[in-house]
Amino acid sequence: MVQFNEDIQEELIKCTHCGTCRSICTTFAYKGKESYNSRGRIFLLEGLQERKIGFDKGVIDRIYSCSMCKACELLCPSSVKFTDMMKCVRNQLAAEHVGPLVNHEEMASLIDDSGNIFGEPQRLVDLSPEVEKLPDKAPNLLYLGCTVSAFQPSLAKTTIKILREAGYNFTMMKDGEYCCSSFLDLVGLGQNYEAAMETNLRRLNSLGVSNVVTLCPFCYGAFNELSEKTRSIGSQHTTEILSDLVKKGKIDLKKSFDHTVTYFDPCHLGRYRGMYEVPRELIKSVPGIEYVDMIRNREKSMCCGGAIRVPYYDIRSGMSEMIVKDAYESGAEYIITACPSCLHNLSTVSFEYDIEVMNIEDLIAYSMNV
């Protein structure tokens, strides 16, 4: 039986059970059951703490089906740091061999074996001839992340083309990247995450890199933490770089995109890092665009369920569909996002609506005509 540590207990005490989280939690919005809401999960943690329930399948399921999107934290009147608490709980469960789920352990093994969380290692030089042309060392490094390098080669090529066209001085991990492992951190395998970032730090140092540019907001968060820790390496998301290059006139957005679009805020860019306006401004700088916000936007945006896709595919799909529906009802023809994982998840359900999903780099490339 797990005795929760003081940090967890402090957060549990703060919760007044008011249920405000019911109005924002996306897993609850989809499942409609109290146990899939933050308050329900707190009830369960209290029950575990007070030895009134044990770690049965259902309890474990609710602990790991939280997508850690931070939405409840921003609305919580009692300022319960729910995501931090859940991470702490999951770390403690891992330490005491109660967690994580088998699927999570398999992912950790795949990273150990291949460097890629999906077990799909990719030599980036094989991805595009453009990669060969990049310098071996440069101050900036474009880090694709596991999803893009394994499953979205077109997005990778587009981003490389944009940056080369704009004259941006960067390199890549040509022989293959090593997963940032921030996902493992979310499921309570904090030690794996720390080790992965040490590996990445060594690689960055060997390439003479002082700034990491990431497509994926999960990776962005990981390198941001590394940046805060080391003070020697900076971290930027591609939207920041692209926005900067547009402002400096290095990117010429000439081709009109005559459609109504909306922007979906990825949790790990928005709520985790507070970046709401940079992507919106970048989208609005494309000529011809008519921009609309979804009903739930910025800090109140829903979560696509990317962080629980494995093993909760059904919940992920349900959560993603609610976002697509919101976008559709807002009148958008295109959902633009800035996260390869969100792109994947929303794309799996968007076919049911008359709406397309696109990553922001593809929109910029279209307007640049590259």
Binding site: G19, T20, K33, F43, L44, G58
Partner: protein, 480 residues
């Protein structure tokens, strides 16, 4: 010391496994696998609501059901009736009187999926909804059409319309618009035997027979289950202004509220915050002036009229020795002030980990006297009581602060609850203005009304629910 709160801890009683299995088998005829659950993790999440910590009945419900239609609810209640299984309707579980807690086990009906707006009649100003729709979601839909539903509680982000009707909820606009009982026109009710009836009328007026709608509003799920609710709605006001006045003495603030309510100014909210509430909110990071007490007055209506009334409120404030008087005009300013008001409870939790939130009300002219009582109780017991609330209708929420890890503080908190309720009744008041009797206030019902009156309530309950399956142990203790 005996207390209705302590009493609850001792209760245990559940169905045996065989009965649960049989019940599950029968309801699976009309509910899908996803529409009911026997899973422990799920059931455990329905043990509690927002009630203070020591109202933890700790009784597990046996089954949770998420119906999608009135017919499913009807069928479910029929089976429950035949098998004498308790039925506990639940909205968001945001009540603080234990109204949705399953004291005798049984089946909890969670209305989360019954949240549709079935009709919006813009000419007759009515709106037909299912009980699970959340107050703010309904008002979001209504706002787009130029309407609103005025009586919503501070918990409107999560509270459901069904829950509000069941508790006859009020909120800060009650001073002008009245509580839910003034806004419910018709109800579709599933009776305790599973039959479905319709109460009320679609007309603004009706003198036709007994008013069953008013009987059901505020019945806390003890007489039947609502499955459709026809609400009156109101056009959005053209203009809203919020005035805040600070005072050195809360009695002055109270006197101002009394004068406002006896004038023709017709404010849409008159809220008060005492020194402890203000300090807690300030420490919580919400900007409020440092002072003994604050009165917040909201005016709504046509702009030219609101501006004239605003000047009269400002003068009334100064006549009652207000120090600072500020007016919020923009939506942002108004929202910021209401945010301060709404964050009182969590802000207080930062001072002491546990709170008992009371819901007492007196005739508005007695409000200053009630404040004097609260102050004396706090001093006599040496316990912090933060008081705020809808002073315009005499409804105050004294929050008693304590730490449940300290038995002496628990004793004092329970004593303070008793003294507050007794003081309220001595001032012609009621022990609950908008939260309901539920589990927490049962023993005061007779003190408030008298033996014969409660006997009539018992007779009504037994006439409509002879098997006592509808939310048992709430409001009344039939077995005692």
């Amino acid at each position: 010391m005996e207390s209705d709160i302590k009493y609850l801890i001792s209760y245990t009683n559940k169905m045996n496994e065989e009965k649960v299995s049989l019940f599950a088998e029968r309801i699976s005829d009309f509910l899908t696998e996803d529409e009911f659950s026997l899973e422990l993790a799920e059931r455990y999440c329905y043990v509690k609501d927002v009630s203070p910590i020591d109202v933890s009945v700790e009784t597990l419900p046996d089954v949770i059901v998420w119906p999608k239609t009135s017919e499913q609810v009807s069928n479910l209640v029929k089976v429950a009736s035949e098998m004498s299984i308790p039925v506990i309707p639940r909205g968001a579980g945001s009540g603080e009187a234990g109204g949705s807690m399953p004291v005798e086990g049984g089946v909890v009906i969670d209305f989360t999926f019954m949240k549709n707006v079935l009709n919006l009649d813009e000419k007759n100003l009515t709106c037909l909804v299912e009980p699970g729709i959340v107050c703010d979601d309904l008002n979001f839909i209504l706002k787009k059409k130029g309407f609103f539903l005025p009586p919503v509680p501070a918990s409107s982000e999560m509270a459901t319309i069904g829950g509000c009707v069941a508790n006859n909820a009020g909120g800060y606009r009650t001073v002008k618009y009245g509580s839910f009982k003034n806004w419910v026109m018709e109800l579709e009710v599933v009776l305790p035997d599973g039959d479905i009836i319709r109460t009320g009328a679609k007309t603004r007026k009706s003198s036709s027979g007994y008013d069953l709608t008013r009987l059901y509003v505020g019945s806390e799920g003890t007489l039947g289950v609502f499955t459709k609710i026809l609400l009156r709605i109101h056009p959005l006001p053209q203009c809203i202004r919020l005035l805040t006045a600070t005072f050195d003495d809360i009695i002055d603030a109270c006197d101002m509220a009394v004068e406002l309510m006896s004038s023709d100014i017709m404010p849409s909210a008159v809220e008060i915050m005492d020194h402890l509430s203000i300090e807690a909110v300030r420490n919580f990071g919400v900007e409020l002036p440092r002072c003994d007490s604050i009165l917040i007055v909201e005016l709504d209506g046509l702009e030219v009229d609101v501006e004239q009334r605003l000047e009269r409120v400002r003068k009334t404030a100064l006549d009652h020795k207000a120090n600072e008087v500020n007016v919020g005009t923009s939506e942002e300013e108004i929202n910021a002030l209401w945010k301060g008001r709404k964050s009182i409870t969590p802000a207080l939790v930062a001072i002491k980990p546990n709170i008992i939130d009371e819901d007492i009300a007196v005739p508005v002219a007695n409000a200053p006297e009630l404040f004097r009582h609260i102050k004396k109780i706090s001093e006599d017991l040496d316990i912090d009581i933060a008081t705020y609330g809808h002073v315009g209708d005499g409804n105050l929420h004294p929050d008693i602060l304590f730490d449940k890890r300290n038995p002496e503080e628990i004793e004092k908190a329970f004593r303070a609850v008793e003294m507050l309720r007794e003081a309220t009744l001595s001032l012609d008041g009621t022990v609950t203005a908008e939260h309901g009797i539920g589990l927490r206030r049962k023993k005061y019902l007779e003190m408030e009304y008298g033996e014969k009156e409660v006997k009539i309530m018992n007779q009504i309950k037994l006439a409509l629910d002879p098997k006592n399956i509808m939310n048992p142990k709430k409001i009344l203790d039939l077995s005692e």
